[in-house]
């Protein structure tokens, strides 16, 4: 137990801070920003599964986020279903569409796959904007109910009206996503994902069905993207086709890359700190996005492993110098 604590005290600290955060942050605006950051972290983590662990760049992630958002909005607002039924159905719908389009597109590799998914995202956006009877067209859907309260026998009901309760709900789903991603990474199946990432041909030659591996990773990633989208629609109360633009996909991509691709902490760090960084760059107004683009290019050229890569490099250097000092002392 002590040993476990020693290795993981930092994560435990982060968890405690995360659990206490609503008590510390009472400002409505900031707590909204933080809740959204956690929500985007779910999407970033799922993008990391397909990009960071399986090596396939999908540019339809925002599209699948929107699929989840729209299906939950339609099920809860238009059809009046319970949110807790709509959410898993919405996420499953995104996963199912991911399966359908992954079947043909995952046969293409590298940039080809990236461009096929880019087109797919655009198709989702166009449908969201033009299928007026179902999606409400460019006005979107307004008045989506918040998550339905859960009755707990003997204790009353768990409602999600207050900001703190919404925060805890999103935190719960983020932890769930993180847990699933962690289990995948540590599993044999996860190892096959990474085998595809390292060398697809080699993976195929040692008997891994690379196509099925990629498809599975894509479907799971899209399930969580849809999940994040569904929660987003319900918490915000309104959605429009703007959730399906490539802009959102690019945001997710940046969270993953700046945080550190191929790590579990990286996408969360990216999703959490990038919006805060942008918030601080608010004073630049219109120049904010220009600077953002410059930042992205600099990071890709000089620190392509993101924050986590940088962190690893520094800790390794410290370790090395420590080991060096010890061996020098022995001599």
């Amino acid at each position: 137990m002590m040993k476990w604590l020693k290795g993981n005290w930092f994560y435990l600290l982060v968890l405690i801070v995360a659990l206490l955060a609503p008590l510390i942050i009472t400002n409505r605006y900031y707590s909204q920003v933080i809740t959204m950051s956690l929500l985007f972290a779910i999407a970033a983590l799922s993008l990391n599964l397909i990009l960071g662990y399986t090596g396939q760049l999908t540019l339809a992630h925002g599209g699948f986020f929107a699929l989840g958002a729209y299906s939950v909005a339609i099920m809860t607002y238009t059809l009046g279903w319970n949110f807790w039924l709509a959410l898993p159905l919405g996420a499953s719908f995104a996963a199912f569409i991911g399966f359908l389009v992954g079947m043909p597109t995952l046969r293409a590799r590298g940039s080809y796959f990236a461009i096929a998914t880019l087109c797919l995202g655009e198709i989702i956006y166009l449908i969201a904007g033009n299928w007026i009877e179902v999606t409400g067209g460019h006005n979107g859907i307004v008045g989506i109910p918040p998550p339905s309260p859960i009755p707990i026998p003997g204790l009353g009901t768990l409602s999600f009206e207050s900001q703190a309760s919404q925060y805890y709900m999103v935190l719960f789903f983020l932890l769930l996503t993180l847990f699933v991603m962690y289990r995948i990474r540590e599993s044999m199946r996860g190892r096959t994902f990474m085998a595809v990432l390292c060398n697809e041909d080699l993976a195929e030659s040692v008997g891994i069905n690379t196509f099925r591996t990629k498809l599975l990773s894509f479907v799971v990633a899209n399930f969580f993207a849809g999940l994040a989208g569904g929660i987003y629609a319900s918490l915000l109360g309104s959605i429009s086709p703007s959730v399906a633009t490539v802009g959102l996909t690019f945001n997710f991509l940046m969270y993953v890359l700046l945080g550190g691709v191929g790590t579990l902490a990286g996408p969360i760090i990216g999703a959490f700190f990038l919006p805060i960084l942008l918030e601080y760059m608010q004073f630049l107004q219109d120049y904010q996005m220009i600077l953002f683009g410059v930042l992205l290019i600099i990071v890709i050229i000089y620190f392509s492993t993101g924050f986590m890569g940088l962190y690893k490099k520094i800790t390794e250097k410290i370790k090395k110098s420590k080991v060096g000092a010890q061996s020098a002392a022995k001599r």
Binding site: P104, R107, A108, Y112, A114, I115, M289, I301
Partner: protein, 289 residues
Amino acid sequence: MELFLQQVFNGVMLGSTYAIVALGLTLVFGILHVPNFAHGHMYMLGAYVCFFLITIFGFAYWPAVALAAILLAVAGVVLEVLVFKPLRNDPGFNPLIAALGALIILENAVVVLWGPEGHRIPNPYPGIIDVFGITMSVQRLLVIGMAAVMIILLQLFIKKTTLGSTIEAVAQNKEGATLVGINVNFVSAMTFAISTALAAVAACLVAPIFMISPSMGALVGMKAFVIVILGGLGSIPGAIAGGMILGLIEALGGGYFSAAYKDVFGFGALVLILAIRPTGLFGKEIKGR
């Protein structure tokens, strides 16, 4: 029948502009292997430069087109040197993501400088010709004619001049090209210059027909990628054929089925083609990039 011919004419006009834009992209993507996602935004920038040359500096149409092409060629070289050159030997998706950074900068810079609203370049040739019941505006005929001229010029440059053949040499074998004394850096910069200049010409040609706006580049850039893949990476005839196919799919799909969904047909066609042929219609090699 007249509706059909009218749509075919519109499709060929659209296809001609797509073909020029895609030609530029097939050079950098197919030959230098740089997935330049900012290509559509260079097209947008070309339209803006042309617009300002005409409205503010009082240029006539053709000098404005020529100057816009030259200025965009310079912009292309700057893009190559600053963004893509440091990543030339980088595996994976980093050049692609750097391109995303570049397009964010370009789009927002244009919004900041000139506002998000649309503009229209005054039409230099407002005349209309009526042939067998099909209305053809002179400007649209001009687009088709200019596209043909640009394609022939590019083909002559690459096949008949020494400078042009260095591009093919680098495409075939970078090390080999270096060994025989070809400066790869120079060829890369030149290819980018040609690529963005072509995009600028295409933008200047259609700007009097459609509106120009900061967001016009994204869709065109995406379509250019669709075409390049349809036609096979680095293939010039493929880019022309792909451009025409996409233009016709859009015009006929938009005319007969639904104008709102016309882009869905084009993108859907790409997804389908990739499903059947993962390396594109005319593509041969599989590259793990």
